[in-house]
């Protein structure tokens, strides 16, 4: 396989950085950067394009779209928490038709790589969304959001039930182009995330996106009632990062070759590196965008620097590096590299 070298040139203020191949492979999809925007934290890219060139990162994962327009939940929809936040947006969105006509059209005109996130309230709705996207140009991959915690019925969080999760993925797979990369977005709010991963992989998922938010709650001490109108919300931000890294690690242990998009509280390139070392082939950055709208580009650059500083000549070499056996040679023994690959 040929790999183009991305030349970012010297990074500001910190001396030159050697050229390094930052490309990554997610099934059939090749990305020039492993950094994506997390679904729901970047809308459809247009707003962020004011702050950095969205074609220079791996891609935009759009906010989960449903068949019909959706108003979302009442306000307040957000609460800041220690090193994180709760959100209870409730999948506000334009519906798939308008999304394709306006948002996806804009992304394609802009030349961005677009991963479309879909959400349904029934298994059937996921299937319809996949069918609707099938003839639509400019969809690099589909992320199937089976884990949004902001739905009325917690029983409808498909990712909490391995067989329901498999039903959704199976239908999306059946209704999509066979080569279309399909990623199942999993919830950390389960007893055993590996068994959910196993069932979606068996159902035809190309890979998994981990993690979605954790279900949380805040009581307002002034009103002495739940702060969010939706009562519960999804916890995101640096507070959840160790949980997310653990999930990536566990899934990688069970599936040595499964493409994993890692996410959860990434704020810096060093945070992204943790996910890569734990086994993620790509990372999504989410809540940090609210703190720093330029962060996806910054994180790409910081990750590149962190890899160079550790002697890696490509991103691909660093994927799952934390899983090497303890007696494996260190990076200094570059000649012995063949020993430590599976």
């Amino acid at each position: 396989m040929t790999r183009a070298l991305i030349s970012q040139g010297p990074l500001p203020g910190k001396g030159p950085v050697a050229y390094i191949d930052m490309s990554t492979q997610l099934g059939e999809l090749r990305l020039e950067s492993p950094v994506l925007t997390a679904s729901g934290c970047a809308a459809a890219g247009r707003e962020l394009d004011q702050f950095f060139d969205i074609t220079k990162i791996g891609g935009i994962v759009t906010k989960s779209v449903m068949m019909q327009p959706r108003s979302g939940r009442p306000t307040p929809r957000m609460a800041e928490t220690p090193s994180g936040m709760l959100n209870s947006i409730g999948l506000q969105g334009p519906g798939i038709d308008r999304f394709i006509e306006t948002d996806l059209e804009w992304l394609n005109q802009r030349g961005a790589t677009t991963i479309v996130s879909i959400a349904g309230s029934t298994v059937d709705e996921y299937g319809k969304l996949a069918s609707r996207l099938r003839p639509t140009p400019g969809v690099a991959a589909i992320e199937v959001n089976i884990s949004c915690p902001n739905v009325e019925n917690r029983g409808l969080v498909f990712a909490c039930d391995p067989s329901m999760a498999a039903n959704v993925i199976q239908l999306v797979r059946r209704n999509s182009d066979p080569r279309m990369p399909i990623f199942a977005k999993l919830s950390p709010d389960v007893t055993d995330i590996v068994s959910v991963a196993e069932s979606v992989v068996r159902a035809g998922a190309t890979g998994v996106s981990v993690i979605n938010t954790l279900l949380g709650m805040v009581i307002n001490p002034d009103t002495m009632r739940p702060h969010l109108a939706g009562i519960t919300g999804g916890l995101s931000g640096p507070a959840v990062r160790p949980v997310a890294v653990r999930c990536v690690w566990q899934i990688r242990q069970a599936f040595p070759d499964l493409p994993i998009i890692g996410m959860g509280g990434i704020r810096t390139g060093m945070d992204a590196l943790e996910f890569i070392l734990a086994g993620a082939s790509a990372v999504s950055v989410g809540t940090v965008i609210f703190h720093d709208p330029s962060s996806p580009m910054r994180i790409h650059e910081e990750l590149q620097r962190a890899l160079v500083e550790r002697g890696f000549s490509s991103l691909a070499d660093a994927i799952s590096y934390a899983h090497r056996t303890s007696d494996a040679p260190t990076l200094e023994d570059e000649d012995d590299f063949d020993f430590i690959t599976e």
Partner: protein
């Protein structure tokens, strides 16, 4: 188009219950218009406070040795605003702006009434100046719960044809709400446009009074925001469009200034029936 810059604190001073923070803001100050806002990053890069805080732009100086500076007025409401109030000269603050849709200014020389609740008077200074430059008569009303929570009384007196002050406790000006004296004032000056910034209940009353008196109202809302740039969908409120259809619109990008008669004030905090995408009662 908004930019993200590192601003340096030039000055921070206490005025009544508030702090006025002056920052260098190259690229923001020169294009900011009345009603625009900025968001400030809180607590530095390793902060445990991940959300930015939004502030109406109070004043700008687009020229001078610092190449553009702006002032914001901070009321301490929690740890984030407290952190900002503790900034000192030469500290660096991450700024994004200018954000939002500013106040729309009238083309003709009409009479305008400006209403500020608490530190909601902050964006009215630039507005008053620009309206007067256009030859509009400007009357200002400011109100707060108590004298300490009024902002900018002396300066507004200079900018306005008349300044009326109300406080809930009567500690300065007339006792009561700004909206108590508003109808009388609007009739007296034959107001064509009303501009308001302040708490939601005040804006709701101002909008109603303006509609009753056939004046056009422009209300700047203060909704809780997470991102300020239109990506998070946190700061929505129900607004009726030209087509008569109600949608949940973002205060950060479709506001913060809305036409008073378009916002469904009594439904703020809910999804009114008939809103685009509102939940439908599910059959059992």
């Amino acid at each position: 188009m908004p930019v993200q810059v590192k601003g340096e604190v030039l000055d921070i001073r206490r005025i009544g219950a508030y702090h006025v923070l002056s920052l260098t803001a190259p690229g923001i100050a020169d294009i900011a218009r009345p009603g625009h806002f900025v968001t400030l990053g809180i607590g530095g890069e390793e902060s445990s406070m991940v959300l930015r805080r939004a502030f109406a732009i109070h004043q700008v100086q687009s020229r001078g040795v610092y190449g553009g500076t702006l002032d914001v007025v901070i009321g301490i409401k929690g740890n984030g605003t407290k952190w900002l109030s503790e900034r000192r000269r030469h500290d660096v603050v991450d700024i994004v702006g200018p954000l939002g849709r500013p106040f729309i200014l009238p083309k003709e020389r009409v009479n305008c009434v400006l209403i500020g609740g608490g530190y909601g008077s902050a964006p009215l200074f630039m507005l008053a100046e620009q309206l007067r430059e256009r030859g509009c008569r400007v009357d200002v009303v400011v109100g707060a719960s108590t004298e300490e929570k009024l902002f900018g009384v002396l300066e507004l007196k200079r900018l306005a044809s008349t300044l009326t002050i109300t406080t809930d406790d009567g500690s300065l000006g007339e006792r009561g709400y700004v909206t108590d004296i508003l109808p009388e004032l609007m009739k007296r000056v034959d107001a064509a446009v009303v501009y308001a910034c302040g708490p939601m209940p005040m804006l709701a009353s101002v909008a109603q009074i303006s509609t009753d008196l056939r004046a056009y109202s422009q209300c700047a809302v203060e909704e809780a925001m997470a991102c300020g740039i239109g990506v998070c969908m946190t700061c929505v409120l129900p607004v009726e469009g030209e087509d008569g259809v109600t949608r949940m619109l973002r205060s950060c990008t479709e506001g913060p200034v809305f036409r008073g008669d378009r916002v469904l004030w009594s439904a703020v905090g809910s999804i009114p029936p008939g809103t685009v995408g509102a939940p439908v009662e599910e059959a059992r």
